[in-house]
Amino acid sequence: MSIEVKNLSKIFDKRYVLKDISFKVNNGETLGVIGFSGSGKSTLLKIISGILEKDSGEIIYPENSEIAMAFQYSALFDFLDVFDNISFPLVERKELRGKYSKSEIEKIVKEKLKMVGLEGIEDKYPSELSGGMQKRVGFARAIVTNPNIILYDEPTAGLDPVTSTMIEDYIVQLKKDLNAACIVVTHQLSTIKRAVDKVIMLYQGSIVFSGGVEELLSGENPYARQFVSASIQGPMNIATK
């Protein structure tokens, strides 16, 4: 399984938010998408996940692919407890309705919670969990249908460094366990270093860098250098975004 994006473009208010974006992610591989806020990273994930329509281009993946997404602020259903959040697609998705018995659902939920290092919190509501736990429950819900393409929208945003490291480890582990093609949108260099195999960088909706992690961190690309060194000086003008 893999996912390939070809010449993808999206226009909002007569302005290109994404312009001619192309890349491919194979199974067992993670692509990092970096760039300043407003560069089109989250829009890219929303188009791949089907939340937004593309204006042109192609997104190619095998027909029986299952796409999952872990949202920036987890997007857990606050009126449901952890168990019901994770089992939600198994119970409510039209084609899965009635497919699993109650005991099977219980087993799957427990297994997925174990995969993200959370056990015994099935009865808790999202408001009773810390930010890091909410992210992990979001991961568990995303992987409950065993997806082969996983999208992460800023998975470590707002978390402390230790919890961020733990989340990054789970991203790596889940990719291995599910042999999935993963796309991680992030601002964090630590996430790039620990959880990503290759990187694209977006600026004003276009790809300005594409390559490996090493190349990003120590290469000559002026956009990459500015991003890595967190410099105001460089080809990317923050004031114009």
Binding site: G50, I51, M69, A75, F77, P89, E92, R93, K94
Partner: protein
């Protein structure tokens, strides 16, 4: 001075235009949602568990306030009407007039207003906060149809339970009016209830039930549409709730006029 007036007039028109545009957008959203909801109902794509849950909420949450508003309104009308009719020698008509006013008009619209403030506002704010926290997007990614899960149950709850609330509220209102007439104008309860039957017509009751059903569906649709299409943050959640309440009040008033024109003109 002239320039100031010109600017004020211009700003007033601009505000009015913005409001009208906003209303037309809401109407468009509502139309789209309505088509999707009807399609799912016809295909029997109904989440019965959620429908039961929302129906319980619709009927149970709004009943106390609905009873209070309709009860108070009918008591006040009886308080004004009964002594005057008694002075003119027409005390015996108090029951039939109350029945006419309550069944044809007041019980449905007052219950509607109570439901807008209790349930409509809560539908709108709940769905708006789900929209801004990406919970509705999450449902789409999980391939769960949010129209089927969130809107169809609320719409059905409105259509099915608003008539029930109407019947209970109207009955309570008429009983309140009877006791107040007895207290204010010494009208015997037996006379009041005998006269009441003369003002009750099966046709009026059916029209009122149909109207209530329309009111319930409209309130649910406007509230859900305003909520689901919210973008932004806490401020927008507040604005969506206000919009849902204001537009629901207006549309209910228009519906009431349309029903009166069709059936009683």
């Amino acid at each position: 001075m002239f320039e100031l007036n010109k600017t004020l007039t211009y700003n007033a028109f601009l505000l009015l235009w913005e409001q009208l545009k906003d209303f037309l957008i809401t109407l468009g959203d509502m139309g789209q949602v309505f088509v999707k909801v009807v399609k799912r109902i016809l295909l029997l794509r109904i989440n019965f568990k959620e429908t039961l849950e929302q129906s319980k909420r619709f009927a149970y949450d709004s009943l106390p306030i609905s009873l209070t508003i309709v009860g108070m309104t009918s008591a006040i009308i009886a308080m004004q009407l009964a002594p005057e009719l008694a002075k003119q020698g027409g005390a015996d008509y108090t029951g039939s007039l109350s029945a006419l006013v309550m069944v044809r008009e007041l019980a449905a619209i007052m219950s509607g207003f109570a439901i807008i403030s209790m349930v409509g506002s809560s539908f709108a704010s709940e769905l708006a906060s789900m929209a801004v926290s990406e919970q509705i997007n999450a449902m789409s990614v999980l391939k769960v149809d949010y129209i089927e899960y969130l809107i169809v149950p609320r719409f059905l709850a409105g259509v099915l339970f608003m008539p029930v609330i109407f019947i209970i509220s109207a009955t309570f209102g008429l009983i309140c009016a009877g006791y107040v007439s007895n207290w204010c104008a010494d009208l015997s309860l037996l006379n009041y209830f005998t006269s009441l039957w003369h003002g009750l017509f099966i046709r009026d009751i059916f029209i009122a039930l149909l109207k209530s059903s329309f009111f319930g569906g409209t309130i649910a649709l406007i509230s859900c549409s305003c909520g689901c299409f919210t973008k932004g943050g806490a401020k927008e959640v507040g604005l969506a709730t206000t919009k849902a309440v204001v537009w629901s009040f207006l549309v209910i008033a228009v519906w009431d006029f349309v029903f009166a024109s069709i059936f009683y003109l």
